[in-house]
């Protein structure tokens, strides 16, 4: 297995406020890792460090063996959809095309090749009917699908998601995780979530972060006699990271 992400003794502060302290985190190829923890515990900061939007004050951080800024083109990112202006005049197709903006040249139109890739991914994620709908008018679940489509259209090797199910109902939540499970066959996934119960059914590693970081192997904890349905609770109970 090759290593996709490695944090060694990484610390990060916003001004005087220390958010992460000496954390070690290793993610291998094919892993499906969830980063869980309380608000302000440093979850999103870890994603931003992996993307190279922030740089650590201390420690070493490598993504695909390179600095995060260099490797970001191999990474797909799904931000929280609430960051986008709801009145922005853009349709689903054009949001997904943004995923390929770095690979295309200048000029007013996208190439046929780009349009085909976008149409394929839109079909795979079941958004064909909504292709021409305004992004801001979609429901939370469909917005999330659109942003996932935008992130995977460039066929990244690593997919990062920030609270992918934070404001959708539980049936959509299941839907999103089933979709990620399929994507996990092709790419390494790291997601940030506040909901440890649902997450632990699908992921193989859980990283609990609250300034410091503890990694749990979801498989070990839930193996044996514990029923699938109770896995979530068991993982939560077995955690000793104070959340």
């Amino acid at each position: 297995m090759s290593r996709v992400i490695s944090f060694e003794n990484v610390s990060f502060s916003y001004g005087r406020n220390k958010v992460l302290e000496d954390i070690d985190l290793f993610v291998e190829k094919g892993d499906f890792t969830a980063i869980v923890g309380p608000n302000g515990g440093g979850k999103t900061t870890i994603l931003k460090l992996i993307l190279g939007l922030l740089s650590p004050q201390k420690g070493e951080l490598k993504v695909f063996g390179q600095s995060p800024c260099k490797s970001r083109i191999r990474t797909g990112y799904v931000p929280q959809f609430s960051v986008h202006d709801r009145s922005f005049p853009i349709d689903v197709e054009n949001v997904v095309m943004q995923g390929l903006i770095g690979n295309t040249s200048f000029g007013p139109f996208y190439s046929k090749n780009v349009k085909k890739k976008v149409a394929d991914i839109i079909e795979k994620l079941g958004l064909t009917q909504r292709m021409k709908d305004r992004f801001g008018d979609l429901s939370g679940g469909l917005k999330q699908r659109t942003l996932i489509a935008r992130a995977v259209v460039s066929q990244p090797e690593l997919l990062l998601l920030d609270e992918p199910v934070s404001s959708v109902d539980s049936s959509v939540e299941k839907d999103v995780f089933e979709m990620l499970n399929l994507l996990n066959k092709k790419m390494t996934i790291v997601l940030v979530s506040h909901d440890i119960g649902f997450v632990s059914k699908y992921v193989n590693k859980i990283a609990c972060v609250n300034k410091t970081l503890v990694i749990h192997n979801a498989g070990e904890i839930t193996s044996g006699i514990i029923e699938d349905a109770y896995r979530g609770k068991q993982v939560a109970v077995n955690h000793s990271c104070g959340i």
Binding site: L53, R72, V83, F88, M97, Q98, I101, P108
Partner: protein, 274 residues
């Protein structure tokens, strides 16, 4: 109305005015749409008012005011683009400072330039009826530049406007694209200076795009529609201005404002009944 068209055929100043209105509407539709979707009216206002500094300096040192306006507007577009990304919380303060200092410098320069005090109002409020042949040449060059920038960077502009962080993550230099977009807006401001004046630029950039976005949710269509609206506004304003001897910039802006408010009412009525 008929007398206006008769006059249009006989007076070259009216023909120039109409040509200027056409060029301004074309640029205004493009730049106004990006001001609207990025919600950067304040930055646009800052550049527009600060441009007076460039105009004043050119008048004082004896250069072409148009050249001064173009250089200062581009300079401020670059500064504000950088501040937007690197300035953090200071952005508003910097815009306010450039807005006030640029304008004050312009007023002082013009104050010390003998014989130019009357012309100050032409820059502040515009006078489309005074557009000369050489002004028209400059307006054509600026409008072509605005269109060329849009054609080359259209997709990048849309991407950076919707989600600048994501654009950056895809390997596109977001700051540079943002600055190029501000330069496009800055050049449009210089064109509009001739038509509605620096003070009314914000209004004239906002109304057509705001009206157009009620009728479409596709950026390319909003650009086309706001160019058309913009031309209707300036043409109607020009007729009123000619017929009742009104200041042109103010007449054009008021027409734009009325049609905008009227569109809101129609839309409200339509939404309520459907």
């Amino acid at each position: 109305m008929i007398e206006f068209f008769e006059a249009l055929f006989s007076y070259s100043f009216l023909q120039n005015a109409l040509a200027a209105a056409f060029l301004a509407s074309f640029s205004c539709g493009i730049a106004g749409t990006f001001v609207q979707i990025n919600k950067i009216t304040f930055i646009t206002g800052g550049i527009a008012h600060a441009v007076l500094g460039g105009v004043g300096a050119s008048v004082y040192f004896g250069f072409s005011p148009m050249l001064g306006a173009i250089s200062v507007s581009i300079l401020f577009a670059v500064i504000l683009g950088i501040v937007r990304f690197k300035g953090g919380q200071q952005e508003d303060t910097v815009i306010g400072a450039l807005w006030g200092c640029g304008m004050s410098a312009g007023i002082i320069f013009i104050y010390f330039s003998p014989g130019y005090s009357v012309n100050l109002s032409n820059y502040l409020f515009g006078n489309i009826l005074l557009v000369s042949k050489s002004d028209l040449t400059a307006l054509v060059i600026l409008a072509v530049a605005v269109f060329a920038i849009l054609t080359v960077f259209y997709r990048q502009f849309v991407s950076v406007s919707f989600d600048e962080e994501y654009t950056e993550l895809r390997g596109v230099k977001g700051v540079s694209i943002y600055i190029v977009m501000l330069i496009m807006i800055a050049l449009t401001i210089v064109v509009l200076m001739k038509v509605v004046g620096l003070i009314l630029v914000i209004a004239f950039l906002s109304f057509p795009a705001a009206t157009a976005s009620m009728f479409s949710s596709k950026i390319s269509r909003i650009i086309a529609l706001s160019s058309i609206f913009s031309f209707i506004f300036s043409f109607t304003g020009l007729i009123f201005s000619y017929k009742y001897n009104l200041p042109t910039g103010a007449a054009i802006t008021l027409v734009a404002g009325f049609i905008y408010i009227f569109s809101i009412l129609i839309r409200y009525y339509y939404v309520r009944n459907s």
